[in-house]
Subunit: 360 residues, 2 copies
């Protein structure tokens, strides 16, 4: 609890002076003001995060956390639980979607075993196993409160190691059969959304299994009565080990003034936990894509984050974060490398020259 | 007219066999079927375009075409016309938004003078000037029908040179003060959309200037009576030199089975011309982003293209195409580099193993 409290206490607001200087420079670059939209806003947010008028990204690390879910016993997923360790091995061998997209973006992938149900003995996989899978939340809490704290603190440690190794942009990613069930439960508890909106098909279940999944989540909430004002209670009762770990990664990034890209549905559930523990941590989050999973948009709305990519993706693993990492990097380059009106000898907009009004 | 006709005649449909093989491979990769969404669809489209089950992108070229517009005399833009050649110089010097974003994506930029109003004598700028700016469409046709053909054919030549130099992915980009006015006019003619939907603020005009811009377009259409069934008539009467050039780039790409990324509002106006001349050319187009310019979504709907990026951008120059080029490349890498279920020893979804039904 000590590391978690210390981390939350050290999360500070953005550096407004750096943001103002970045905005001033954006407005002098050879383009109509605001015409690069989100790229401009991102560069300004990064200036505020890094506390530098010219933010830079030099090392990107995507942290992919794996964990199993006892609720898989209820038949809520289209895939068997053995797929979790198999995919961890696939990540380590470089053959998964996240490996391809991270390589393409020039990002490193770190794989963390937060709680795969079986023993994982694969070189390169970081061992932070809190327990071998959660308990079945349909019959009782997924984990103890102490274990919820332990996963978050493990995530903070992983983030801080990555940052110590030079990472100045983190991304989140997940693997865990049945983890859309836990994520939907978290969303339902925090937002009060109806299960018809917060629960989707995950890896691709049919209509009957979807009904069953909703019923299981209804049951889990009824049995456990998670308290939405107590984030650790929510995580412990209906969360997941990798979800807690990713919440820790987000808090660890924020405490160290490092931006963190939120991937899809599971990562956004982790972001809801992080934001609930420390609202200011939202300032360090960057949304990537909006998932096919219908609850994802609701999560992003809860977090007041806007996605950049509409790619109909629903794989997780950090694949959306990897794609978005290149856009984040681009935003820094726009700010640093574009010529100003004065440098390029380009005429400005008439009203901007005369500094008239707040304008459009 | 000979080159244009020959080009249109040589535009063929996609290679369905390569698409089927690409789809089959996508379905064997270690992810739930369809879970990489647009990345999967793109890779399959590229297979059909290139006629190869494993499409590859090795050289990306963004073609930025510049031209002036006589209608700028009506005060429809927030910037003076002198900005067109100034920005061409900025492109050549590497200081503009497109230069930064193309460098980031590993793409080359080719700059083409299709009809800047003044003499451009800048090393590295391809001279295809058809005339020094269009005539003011509010009082008569922007150009002659022969000139409309000449710009398209010049665009075909530029595309074919880029392809001869090894480009296997083209992107479009534009520069031209007042060219959102011409593009809105083209959209209005083709779609029949009301001016309140098809005309926006361009580089950032105020409310009064927006009213004026709509009135100018209404006037241009009334005076010229462009015939929507005759694409060359539309281009000649209310189009632009860079817009015709970009239509040629698109047709040239399609005739050579090279995918072409459509940038924003102006590039999409060019795509409307290309699609109207040859509907099959749509199969070779890839949408990038959706612009702040309100008519852009209408254009993409007309073209039946779906954008990937929602970045609130409205700069043009090919900036959206540059960002999207990295996503297109990623789609090929996913198809080529991800491990299959068999290779990785990952269990498949139960129903897929038994090949049951059409599923979900």
């Amino acid at each position: 609890m000590k590391l978690l409290n210390k981390t939350i206490e050290s999360i500070d607001g953005l550096d407004l002076k750096s943001m103002r200087l970045a905005r001033e420079r954006q407005d002098q670059l050879t383009k109509p003001k605001g015409s690069l939209g989100v790229l401009e806003e991102l560069s300004i947010k990064l200036a505020g995060i890094q506390g530098k008028p010219l933010p830079e990204i030099s090392r990107k690390i995507i942290i992919v956390m794996a964990g199993d879910h006892g609720v898989a016993d209820e038949g809520v997923s289209a895939f068997p639980q053995e797929v979790t360790p198999q995919m961890v091995a696939n990540f380590a061998a470089g053959g998964a979607g996240i490996n391809v997209l991270a390589r393409h973006a020039g990002a490193e992938v770190r794989i963390v075993d937060m709680g795969v149900a079986c023993i994982i003995d694969i070189p390169g996989v970081i061992d932070k196993k809190i327990r071998p899978g959660t308990a079945n939340m349909a019959v009782g809490p997924a984990m103890t409160r102490d274990q919820a704290v332990a996963c978050i603190e493990a995530g903070i440690e992983v983030a801080e190691e990555a940052i110590a190794d030079g990472a100045d942009l983190l991304g989140t990613g997940d693997m865990g059969i049945a983890n859309t069930t836990a994520s939907s439960a978290i969303l339902t508890v925090f937002s009060g959304a109806g299960l018809e909106h917060s629960v989707g098909r995950g890896t691709g279940i049919g209509a009957d299994a979807l009904d069953k999944k909703r019923e299981v989540i209804r049951q889990a909430i009824k049995v456990n009565q998670p308290d939405k004002r107590d984030s650790l209670d929510v995580l412990a009762k209906v969360g997941g080990l990798e979800i807690g770990g990713l919440a820790g990664v987000i808090l660890g990034a924020a405490a160290n003034r490092v931006p963190v890209i939120i991937d899809g549905f599971i990562s956004s559930a982790a972001a809801l936990i992080a934001a609930s523990l420390c609202p200011e941590s939202r300032s360090y989050m960057i949304a990537s894509h909006v998932s096919v999973e219908p609850g994802h948009k609701l999560m992003l709305d809860e977090l007041a984050l806007k996605p950049m990519l509409f790619m109909n993706m629903r794989l997780g693993e950090g694949t959306g974060a990897a794609l978005a990492s290149s856009l984040v990097e681009a935003s820094c380059k726009v700010l640093a490398e574009m010529a100003t009106f004065a440098e390029a000898g380009v005429a400005e907009k008439e009203e901007d020259k005369t500094e008239q009004g707040a304008g459009i």
